[in-house]
Structures are given as C-alpha cells and as structure tokens.
C-alpha cells in the first residue's frame, strides 16, 4: 500500500469504528451472569447429590460432578440446543465445563460426514485444541512455581 492509500485506509477505519454498532455490554454481562450462574447452580446441585448419595467428601465428588456436567453439555449440544444458548449468554455458556464439552462435541458432529478418522477424530480439537494447549501449559508453569516456592 502506498502512503496516500494507507492514510486513506486509516481514515476509513476511523469512520468504520464510529459507525460500527457497539456490543451491548450491559445486556451481555447480565445474560452471561444469569446463564453461567444457572449452569454453576446445576453443577452445585449435582455435587450435593453425589456427596449425599455416594457418601463422599465434596472434594472426592468433584470429579464425578465434572463428568456429569460434561455429559450434560455434550447432550445439549447433540440435541442442537447449546448453540442457541450461547448467542445470548456468550462467555456464560462458553466458560463453564459444559462449554468445553460443546467445543469438543460440535466439531465432532460437524465433521462426521468427512469420516470417522479424518473427520470426527482429526477435527474434534479444532476449537478446543488451543484451549487445551494453553491450559496444560499454564498448569505446568503454575505447578512449577508452586514446587519452587515449596507450596
């Protein structure tokens, strides 16, 4: 791009920024809180139920709770409902573990037409892959810091 074109482009981008509708922040935050909070409430109920039924400590019950929530996230993705929640709830739907299940199951469903190996298996991580990489890397780093500081 020439200098004149760059200047013109910059002026246009300023015009675009002025004209572009803003994200409705208050509404997005409200629904993220309501939906995300509701998902967490369900998780809390599941946890309490497992604690009561399995005679486990809350800490022991957390892993099966996560399993149940992943199952529910996958189920609602499979039923075609989870993607309808997210446009309203945004991170409220993406951040809980159910959102992680959605990010794994949705590409698996999407690419089953391309076959089981090169479709489902290979593409399953297209959305969640980067999240897993960064989460594991962060966990290792935090674990190392914890080790060095001696807890």
């Amino acid at each position: 791009m020439s200098k004149a074109n760059r200047r013109q482009a910059a002026a246009y981008q300023r015009m675009v920024n002025r004209t572009t509708p803003k994200r409705p922040l208050a509404r997005n935050l409200f629904w993220a809180f309501v939906v995300g909070g509701s998902i967490c409430l369900v998780g809390q109920v599941v946890l309490a139920a497992i604690v009561a039924m399995g005679d486990l400590t809350p800490k022991e019950a957390s892993t099966p709770t996560v399993g149940v929530m992943i199952f529910l996230g996958a189920l609602f993705t499979g039923l075609g409902l989870y993607d309808r929640l997210a446009p309203l709830a945004g991170m409220g739907a993406n951040l809980p573990i159910t959102g992680f299940a959605n990010s794994m199951v949705s590409p698996a469903m999407e690419f089953r037409r391309e076959g089981f190996v090169l479709g489902v298996s290979a593409r399953m991580f297209t959305v969640a892959g980067p999240v897993i990489v960064h989460a594991v890397t962060t966990a290792v780093m935090v674990g190392f810091i914890q080790y060095v500081l001696g807890k």
């Binding site: 482009a9 246009y12 509708p21 997210a86 709830a89 949705s106 999407e110 959305v127």
Partner: protein
C-alpha cells in the same frame, strides 16, 4: 467510446446487442422464505438439508434446481443453453461444479466471493452480445451451514457474534441471458479490488463498502449518468452497516443515492438479533434479483436497476495470516426496453 462501441470510460462495457434477461429463478431456505421477500421466491425449502446427507449436497441440489427452473421459465430446453456461468463460496466452488455435473452444457466456474452472480451476468452478457452464445445461464448459490463450517465455527458450536456480523443466506439464484424477451443488460462495470485495510472477519460489510462505492462511482463516471437515472441501485450484501458506510462514501464524493439505494442483504431478512446486520453470501443478490427485482422489472414497477454485487476476497487462511480483507464489486445495469432514457 472506442471504435467497436463496446467500451465506455475506464471500466464499463456496453452491450449494443441488448442481451436480455429472459427469465430468473430462485430457490431458498426456510429462513429466507419466511423473510420479507419470501413471497417472491420460486421455491422455498422446508429445511436446509433437503433430507440429504450433507449441507453441501443440499446446496448443489438447490443450485441445480434454480438453473433448471430458470431455463424452463424462459421457455427453453436444457439443450438450448450454451454455457453456465456460475460460482459459490465453497472451496474449489464444488457446489457449482457438482450442479453442472448433471447438466448438458459447459460450465464456466467463477469465484468472486459474493460478487459472483454479477460477475457471471457480466460475462454472460458479453457472450450473448458478442454472438458467442444465444442463451446462457448465470447463477450463484450460498448456504448458511456450508459457509459457517468452512469460514467460521462448527454449526453446533455456541458462539456469540458481534453486532456487525451478518447471516449467510441459504439460497440459489439463476437467470437466463439470451436473445429473447426481457429487460436488457445495457452496461456492466467490472470492479477493481479495493482494500481499505479492514481485518475483522466478523464484519464483511465494512470490508466491502469501499469497493461498492468505488464501482458505483466508476459506473456513473463512465456512463455519464446520475444516480437518479436508476429507479434502484441495489448492492448485494453490504448489510446495514456496510450500506450506511457505502452511502457515506458516495456522499463524500458528491453522489446522493439516499432516495434509491437498497441492499439485498437488508431486504432479505427481518432484522432479528440472530441476523445482526443482515444477509450475506452469493445467493443473497442472486435470489433477490432473480426472485424479486426481475418480477418488479417485468411488472414495470422498476424500469432501471443497477445491481452491484459485493464480495470479500479473503480466505480463512489469509485472514489468520494477518492479511486484510480485499473487497470487490461488479455492477450491471438492467433496464426495460424503451426505458433506458437519455444516455450518452
């Protein structure tokens, strides 16, 4: 104008042989069918999969159906058609190629992103005007779900899109261009690629608006016409934001189009929160023109239409590598016989 009288200005082609838009057909999905233009489309499908095993196959079938229906409506047989000028948004334009696999005439596969329909009409008019064909079909298609899975996220992935986003339409449109009856293609203005540095793949409207403004301006320069010459100047799929930006860009160049400016992407859907800024995709301008504008031209409610299809020429890979979104817009003037008015 040069000696042959077929060029005017720097980018505009003239068609003295007056190729006609003999017929048009549109096949759309349920969401488009329940939108404001629903009653004008020839076929409205009940679902986006058509009972088939993939969305890609559904798109192929919709495109094929639009082409065959357009030929039938022109009173022709498939054997009378000499070429299909067609494109879509899929990788390697497979919707077009696979639809043409079932058809007994040659395919000229085109890619101009969402500008493809007018690219096809321009080339078709050239073929007919140049006597290289007596009848050709120009067509284009897009499908919401095939586009989503290729350009964005898996369709079942929960994703909150920004307000500037648009909704890819599920639609196919086709027109027969030939020597028969119908409104004439009088001019085509081929568009330059215009890149104003837009990088947001969730905002196609602002990436394409400068190209649209450029082509409209160039068309009016080349032909010496005023915006008011046209009953309607219709852009392809700028959406609400792009439409606003395009009008502002034209206003800054001294052109007032506020009275007769429409955008197919704004016409095709009711503005529900899901749709954000409106419709997009090759099928948007194709179905809106073949379904709606052509009927209005036939009824005489519109006599002079400038159709400006707009495309963003990026790929998912190019934008991930940090490239900006180059826009393009092609324009064709379609006018009822005897209604062209005074033109230079």
């Amino acid at each position: 104008m040069n000696a042959a009288g077929k060029r005017i200005g720097s980018q505009t082609l003239v068609f003295p042989g007056r190729p006609a838009v003999q017929s048009g057909a549109s096949v759309v999905g349920p969401k488009e069918g329940s939108g404001p233009l629903g009653q004008y489309f020839d076929v409205v499908k009940g679902d986006t999969l058509l009972g088939d095993r993939s969305w890609e196959r559904a798109e192929v079938r919709m495109l094929g159906e639009a082409v065959e229906l357009a030929v039938y409506k022109a009173g022709l047989k498939l054997q009378d058609i000499q070429a299909l000028l067609c494109g879509d948004l899929l990788n390697q334009i497979t919707a077009s190629s696979f639809a043409a696999r079932e058809l007994p005439f040659p395919l000229v596969g085109l890619y101009g992103a969402c500008s493809t329909f007018v690219e096809g009409m321009s080339l078709g008019a050239m073929m007919v005007d140049g006597a290289y064909a007596t009848a050709v079909v120009a067509a284009a298609s897009s499908h919401h779900d095939t586009a989503e899975r290729q350009f964005r996220y898996p369709t079942e992935f929960g994703n909150q899109r920004p307000p500037a986003a648009q909704w890819t339409v599920t639609a196919a449109g086709a027109v027969v261009l030939g020597r028969g009856e119908g409104p004439h293609v009088t001019f085509a203005t081929l568009g330059r690629v215009v890149d104003m540095g837009a990088v947001d793949v969730n905002d196609m409207g602002s990436a394409m608006a400068p190209a649209a403004a450029e082509t409209i301006w160039q068309h009016l320069q080349d032909t010496g016409r005023k915006p008011s010459h046209y009953d309607l100047i219709a852009t392809g799929d700028l959406g609400r934001l792009g439409r606003k930006l395009c009008m502002e860009l034209l206003r800054r160049r001294g052109l007032d189009v506020s009275g007769n400016f429409a955008d197919c992407g704004c016409l095709i859907f009711d503005f529900t929160p899901e749709v954000h800024c409106g419709g997009s995709g090759c099928g948007c301008s194709a179905a809106a023109f073949a379904g709606y504008f052509l009927g209005e031209l036939a009824a005489g409610r519109l006599n002079r239409v400038l159709l400006v299809a707009t495309g963003s020429l990026h790929s998912p890979g190019s934008s991930q590598q940090g490239e900006s979104l180059p826009g393009i817009a092609h324009a064709v003037a379609i006018e009822n016989p005897g209604q062209e008015g005074s033109s230079p």
